[in-house]
C-alpha cells in the first residue's frame, strides 16, 4: 500500500493545485474565522493581564470612599474594620483649571500626595520629569494623557482656582495611575482634553482647602477573604457623621468599570463573529468537496475497482479538506496574532497601561484550528458518504441526466413573462433549492457581519444626538461648589450671550428598598425644564410627578421597586436627611441610573430653601468666549462644561477605533462574500461548461453566456442582501443584548447608510468574483463540446 498511497498523495497535490484559486479563497475565509477568534481572545487575555498586572504592581485599592471632611485620627478606626489590611487617606478636590490660550474651562482633579513617603497603595508611576520637591509650592505632576491631549510640555504653567484663589502650578512631571486608567469627569466618555489629574504636595493642598489634619478621600486594601460589601457598610457607618458620600468597591470605580466593559466586549466579539466565519467556511468547504467528489466519480470508481477500500478513499478526501483547513489555520494564526497585536496596541493607547504587553496563548491557536478542522471534516465526510455507498460499477456509469421541470411561475400560467434565458436561470435555481438557499445564506451572512460590525458608529452617533441635542440641550453647564440661591438664575441671564438659563439641583443619595441599596444622585428639575429633558429609549418625554421620585427603569429593577412603592432616600449632603419617598414612575432611559424629582420637592426633601447646584445655559455661539471669560471670574462656578467640546473629543477618539474595526470587518466580510460567490460560480461553471460552450457554438456571445451563468449568482446576491439586512439587524440586537450593562443600554440604531454600505461591499465582492469567473467563460473550449458528451 506504501507506493500506492504516495500515488494518491500525488493526486492530492495535483487536485489542490488545479483548484488553487478556490483553495486559497476557502482558506482565506477560514483564516478570517480563526484570525478573528484568536485576535479578539488574545486581545481580551492581554488586556486582562495588563490590567491585573498593573493593579498588582501599583497595588490598586479594593474600596474607595469620599467624605466631606474627616479628621486624620479616624484612620485608626478604619484600620480596625474587619477585613481591612491597609488604609490610605488623602485630600482630593476638583477645581477649575486654565492654561494660556484655551478659552473653555477645564477641570483639574487635585490629589494631595506626600512625595517623601510614597503611598503603600494606589502607586502612581512617574513617566517623565520628576516628583515635586517635598513641601514645594506651585509644582505638580500631571497625568500623561492630559499632557499629550493638550500638547503641553514639562515646565509649562497652568492655573487652578483653589478655594476662590488663583494658584499657579508648574508641570514638573507626568504620571500614570491605576485609578485613572480611563480618566473622565464622570460620564463614560474619554475626556483627556478637559480633565486633568494633578498630583501636588499634600500639605499645600490641605492648607488651601482648610483640610489640615483631615482627609476627604480614603482608599482601602482588603485582606484576601474579606467581604467587600461588609467593609463598605462599616466604612459608611464610620464616615457618615463626617459627610460620607458612600463607599464603592472596584466594580463601581469609574475607570475600572469602563475598562472592564471594554475588555468584556472583546470577548463577545471574539465569540459571536468568528463563529459565523467558521460556519460559512465549513459550508463552502462542504459544497466544494461535494462537487469535487461528484466530478471524480469515475476516478473513485476506478480506485475502488483497483482494490482501494473505502477507508483509503475517505482518507484521501479528508486530507484534501484538512490541507485547505491547515492552510487557513496557518494564515489565521498569523492574522490573529497581527490583529491581536494591533487591537491590544489600540487599547493600550486608549487605556495607557504602563507597558504594552501582548501574548497569544497557544490554546487559542489550537482551539481555532480544531474548530476549523472539525468544520472541514464534517464537510468532507458528508460529501464522501454518498460516493462511498456506490458500487464500483455504478460509479463508473455517468450520472443520470439532469431532470428539470416547469417553474412554479409557469405552472401558474405566467410562462410568457420569461425569456428562455431567464427560464434557464430560474429553473437551475429551482432545481437545486438547497444549494441556492445555502449560497444565499452564505452571502447574507457576510452582509449581516458587516452590519453587526459597523452599526456601532450609528448607535454612538444617535446616542450623541439624543444625549446632547434632545436631552441635555444646554450649550454650557455650570456647576457650583456649594448650593446657591435660585436667584443665581437672574445673575447668569445677564452674562454675555446667554439666551436661556435653567437651574437644577443634584444631591448625592443612597436609595434603600429593603436590604437593597444603590448610591446615585437625585436631580431636581423645574417643571418647565426644556434644557434638561428626560427621554426614554423611544424618545418619549417623562416628567417627575409632584411629591415623588422618577427612576430609571434599570435602577427600579435593581432596587426591585415599582411605581407606588416607597424608598428610603438617605441624602449624603447638607443636613443628610433620611426620608421616605414614593416612586411615582419609571423611565427606560438609555444611560445612567438616575433619580429625578421636581426641584421644589427635592429642596423640601432636603429641608432647604430654594437653592440650586447647577445651571444649564443656552448661549449665542459668537458670545461664547466672552461668556466663558466671565464665568472664570465667578468663584461659585466651580465646574464649567461646554457640551460641544465633550462631543468633539468623543467623536475624535471613537473615530479612530471605529475606522480600524470597520476596515477589518469589511475585509473579512468581503473575503467571505468572495469565498461564497466565487466558489459557487466556479462550481456552476464546471457543471455547466458543456452547456455554455454549446451555446457559444450556436452563436451566443461571451457576454450572453456570462449572463446565463452569472445571472443566477446575481439573483442569489439580490435575494441575499435583504435577508442579510434582516440577519444583520438581529445579530446587532444580539450583540447589544450581550454588551449592555447596568448603566447603559446601547440603542439598536442602524442608519440606512450602514445597510447601503454593507450591501455595496457584498455587491462589489460579487462583481470581483464574477470578473474572475468571466475570464474562464471567455476561454471555454468550443471545439471540445462538439466531440464529447457531458
Amino acid at each position: 500500500m506504501r507506493s500506492s498511497l504516495s500515488s494518491l498523495n500525488r493526486k492530492l497535490v495535483r487536485d489542490l493545485w488545479s483548484l488553487k484559486t478556490q483553495v486559497v479563497s476557502i482558506a482565506l475565509v477560514i483564516a478570517c474565522g480563526i484570525g478573528g477568534f484568536i485576535g479578539s481572545f488574545s486581545t481580551y487575555g492581554s488586556l486582562l493581564w495588563s490590567r491585573d498586572n498593573y493593579y498588582d504592581t501599583a497595588r490598586f485599592p479594593h474600596v474607595f470612599a469620599t467624605a466631606k471632611r474627616a479628621p486624620q485620627s479616624l484612620a485608626g478606626r478604619l484600620r480596625a474594620i474587619e477585613g481591612v489590611a491597609e488604609v490610605e487617606t488623602r485630600v482630593v478636590r476638583d477645581a477649575q483649571l486654565s492654561i494660556p490660550g484655551v478659552v473653555p474651562p477645564m477641570i483639574a482633579r487635585l490629589i494631595g500626595q506626600d512625595f517623601e513617603h510614597p503611598a503603600g497603595m494606589n502607586r502612581v508611576t512617574l513617566k517623565s520629569g520628576r516628583w515635586p520637591a517635598p513641601g514645594a509650592r506651585g509644582e505638580a505632576v500631571v497625568n500623561q494623557r492630559f499632557l499629550a491631549a493638550r500638547k503641553l510640555k514639562l515646565g509649562d504653567r497652568m492655573s487652578v482656582l483653589l478655594n476662590g484663589r488663583l494658584e499657579r502650578l508648574t508641570l514638573v512631571g507626568t504620571a500614570l495611575s491605576p485609578e485613572y486608567i480611563f480618566a473622565t469627569r464622570g460620564g463614560g466618555m474619554p475626556d483627556d482634553e478637559w480633565f486633568a489629574v494633578l498630583w501636588t504636595d499634600a500639605r499645600t493642598l490641605a492648607a488651601a482647602f482648610n483640610m489640615e489634619g483631615a482627609f476627604n478621600s480614603v482608599l482601602l486594601r482588603l485582606s484576601r477573604d474579606a467581604s467587600v460589601s461588609g467593609v463598605i457598610e462599616k466604612l459608611d457607618h464610620i464616615l457618615e457623621p463626617y459627610g460620607g458620600f458612600g463607599a464603592v468597591g472596584r466594580d463601581d470605580q469609574v475607570s475600572h468599570k469602563i475598562i472592564s466593559q471594554e475588555i468584556n466586549q472583546q470577548r463577545i466579539f471574539g465569540t459571536v463573529l468568528p463563529s459565523i466565519f467558521l460556519l460559512v467556511a465549513a459550508f463552502i468547504l462542504n459544497v466544494v468537496l461535494h462537487r469535487q467528489v461528484h466530478a471524480q466519480r469515475g476516478e473513485i470508481a476506478a480506485l475502488k475497482a483497483l482494490g482501494y477500500d473505502d477507508r483509503w478513499i475517505a482518507l484521501h478526501y479528508l486530507k484534501f479538506a484538512s490541507s485547505i483547513v491547515l492552510l487557513g489555520a496557518v494564515l489565521g494564526v498569523g492574522l490573529g496574532w497581527w490583529l491581536g497585536n494591533a487591537m491590544t496596541g489600540l487599547y493600550t493607547g486608549l487605556f495607557q497601561f504602563p507597558q504594552f504587553h501582548y501574548f497569544m496563548a497557544p490554546w487559542l491557536a489550537l482551539a481555532g484550528a480544531a474548530a476549523a478542522l472539525a468544520a472541514g471534516f464534517g464537510g468532507a465526510l458528508a460529501a464522501t458518504r454518498g460516493i462511498l455507498r456506490l458500487r464500483a460499477a455504478e460509479a463508473l456509469r455517468p450520472p443520470a441526466p439532469a431532470e428539470f421541470r416547469a417553474l412554479l411561475l409557469e405552472r401558474l400560467g405566467y410562462a410568457h413573462l420569461l425569456t428562455p434565458a431567464q427560464r434557464m436561470i430560474m429553473r437551475n435555481l429551482e432545481r437545486r433549492p438547497l444549494r441556492a438557499a445555502s449560497t444565499i445564506a452564505g452571502i447574507a451572512g457576510s452582509v449581516a457581519i458587516l452590519i453587526a460590525g459597523t452599526f456601532w458608529s450609528d448607535a454612538v452617533e444617535w446616542f450623541i444626538d439624543v444625549q446632547f441635542n434632545q436631552m441635555q440641550r444646554a450649550d454650557v453647564n455650570v456647576g457650583f461648589a456649594e448650593p446657591v440661591p435660585r436667584s443665581v438664575q437672574l445673575e447668569l441671564a445677564r452674562l454675555p450671550g446667554v439666551t436661556q438659563v435653567e437651574v437644577t439641583r443634584a444631591i448625592p443619595v443612597r436609595l434603600r428598598a429593603g436590604h437593597r441599596s444603590y448610591r446615585t444622585g437625585i436631580t431636581g428639575i423645574p417643571d418647565d425644564a426644556s434644557l434638561q429633558r428626560i427621554l426614554d429609549a423611544d424618545l418619549r418625554e417623562a416628567k417627575p410627578a409632584p411629591g415623588g421620585v422618577l427612576l430609571t427603569a434599570r435602577l427600579a429593577e435593581r432596587l426591585e421597586v415599582r411605581p407606588g412603592d416607597t424608598l428610603i432616600a438617605e441624602l449624603l449632603e447638607g443636613k443628610r436627611v433620611k426620608s421616605a419617598v414614593q416612586v411615582t414612575g419609571t423611565v427606560r432611559e438609555m444611560a445612567g441610573m438616575n433619580a429625578w424629582m421636581r426641584l421644589e420637592d427635592l429642596n423640601r426633601l432636603a429641608r432647604e430653601g430654594p437653592v440650586v447646584s447647577a445651571a444649564g445655559l443656552s448661549v449665542e455661539r459668537a458670545q461664547e468666549t466672552a461668556l466663558l471669560e466671565r464665568l472664570k471670574e465667578m468663584p461659585a462656578a466651580a465646574v464649567v462644561i461646554v457640551n460641544r467640546t465633550l462631543v468633539d473629543t468623543f467623536r475624535e477618539t471613537s473615530a479612530k477605533n471605529v475606522l480600524f474595526f470597520t476596515t477589518v470587518l469589511t475585509i473579512f466580510a468581503a473575503t467571505i462574500a468572495v469565498g461564497v460567490v466565487y466558489n459557487n460560480a466556479r462550481i456552476q461553471l464546471a457543471e455547466r461548461a458543456w452547456e455554455l460552450a454549446s451555446l457559444r457554438v450556436l452563436g451566443f456571445t461571451r457576454r450572453e453566456v456570462s449572463v446565463l451563468l452569472l445571472g443566477e449568482l446575481a439573483i442569489e446576491i439580490a435575494a441575499a442582501i435583504p435577508l442579510g439586512f434582516l440577519a444583520g439587524f438581529w445579530l446587532a440586537a444580539l450583540l447589544i443584548a450581550l454588551m449592555s450593562h447596568e448603566v447603559m443600554a446601547f440603542p439598536l440604531v442602524i442608519f440606512p447608510t450602514t445597510y447601503l454600505y454593507s450591501g455595496a461591499v457584498v455587491v462589489a465582492a460579487g462583481v470581483v468574483s464574477a470578473l474572475i469567473v468571466r475570464n474562464r467563460i471567455d476561454n471555454l473550449d468550443l471545439v471540445a463540446v462538439l466531440k464529447t458528451r457531458e
Binding site: 441526466p401 439532469a402 431532470e403 428539470f404 421541470r405 416547469a406 425569456t419 428562455p420 434565458a421 427560464r423 434557464m424 429553473r427 437551475n428 432545481r431 458543456w690 452547456e691 454549446s694 451555446l695 457559444r696 457554438v697 450556436l698 452563436g699 451566443f700 456571445t701 461571451r702 450572453e704 468550443l782 471545439v783 463540446v785 462538439l786 466531440k787 464529447t788 458528451r789 457531458e790
Partner: protein
C-alpha cells in the same frame, strides 16, 4: 441545380497547424473548396483526416493558419472572436453528435433560445413541426428519446434560416432506424428550404444521399464525386 447557384464559400489553400506539446500537427495541408447555395455535401474521412478541422473553420469556430476562406462577401480568414460569433449566430446552424440541448429548457424553448437572437427566424413551433415534433413542444430533453433530441437540435439549427447547416456525425449516437429518420429530416430541410447542408461522417453509406461527396485524408481533399443518382435516406442502408 447546384452548379448554377452562386458560391456560398470559397476556400483557397486552407492550412491548419497545431502545436500539441512538443509535436506540430498538420491538420489541413492546403484545401481548396467551393460550396454552392443549396448544395448537400457529405464530408467523408477517417479520424485524423482533417474533416473536423475543416468543419470548425467553415463553422467559424476556428481560423486557418494560412490560406483564405470567404463566406459570401466577407473573409473569415483572419476574423476576430466577435466577428466569428456574429457569423455563427447569423449564418450557421449546428447539429452536434450529442445534440447539445439545454437540459433546463423544453424543446420549444431550446429552439426559441436561438430564434430570440436571430434576424428572420422561423417560429419555434413551426420549426419543430418541420422535424416532426409538433406534439412534443413542451417536453424537456430528459423526457425525449435520442432521436427526438437530435430532431430538436435540427429544428434549433434551421429555425434561424441559416445559410449553412453543419451536421457533425449527426447519427453517431443514434441507432440505425433513428439515424435514418434524422437524415431524412436533414435531407427534407435541404430540399424544402434550400438550406446548404454539410454532413460530416465516417459512415460511407450516407454519401449516397448527397449532391456531392468530398473525401478527406491526411489534411487534403483526396476525392470528390457526384453520385449519378441521389438516393433518399430511406433507400440507403448500412
Amino acid at each position: 441545380m447546384a452548379a448554377a447557384a452562386e458560391a456560398v464559400f470559397v476556400a483557397r489553400g486552407l492550412t491548419k497547424t497545431y502545436r500539441m506539446g512538443e509535436t506540430e500537427i498538420h491538420a489541413l495541408r492546403g484545401v481548396d473548396l467551393e460550396v454552392r447555395a443549396g448544395e448537400f455535401i457529405v464530408l467523408l474521412g477517417p479520424s485524423g483526416s482533417g474533416k473536423s478541422t475543416l468543419l470548425n473553420i467553415l463553422g467559424g469556430l476556428d481560423t486557418p493558419t494560412a490560406g483564405s476562406i470567404v463566406f459570401k462577401d466577407h473573409s473569415l480568414s483572419r476574423a476576430d472572436e466577435a466577428t466569428l460569433t456574429r457569423y455563427r449566430r447569423e449564418h450557421v446552424g449546428f447539429v452536434f453528435q450529442f445534440y447539445n440541448l439545454i437540459p433546463s429548457l423544453t424543446a420549444r424553448e431550446n429552439v426559441a433560445l436561438v430564434t430570440d437572437i436571430a434576424l428572420e427566424p422561423i417560429p419555434p413551433d413551426e420549426a419543430l413541426r418541420r422535424v416532426g415534433l409538433g406534439e412534443r413542444l413542451d417536453h424537456f430533453p430528459s423526457q425525449l428519446s435520442g432521436g427526438e433530441q437530435q430532431r430538436v437540435a435540427i429544428a434549433r439549427a434551421i429555425a434561424k434560416r441559416p445559410d449553412l447547416l453543419l451536421c457533425d456525425e449527426p447519427t453517431g449516437a443514434l441507432d440505425y432506424e433513428t439515424g435514418k429518420l434524422v437524415l431524412e429530416v436533414i435531407a427534407r430541410i435541404n430540399a424544402e428550404l434550400g438550406t446548404t447542408a454539410m454532413v460530416i461522417t465516417h459512415n460511407a453509406a450516407i454519401a449516397a444521399i448527397a449532391d456531392r461527396v468530398l473525401r478527406l485524408g491526411d489534411g487534403r481533399i483526396v476525392g470528390e464525386e457526384r453520385p449519378a443518382r441521389k438516393l433518399t435516406p430511406a433507400e440507403i442502408s448500412w
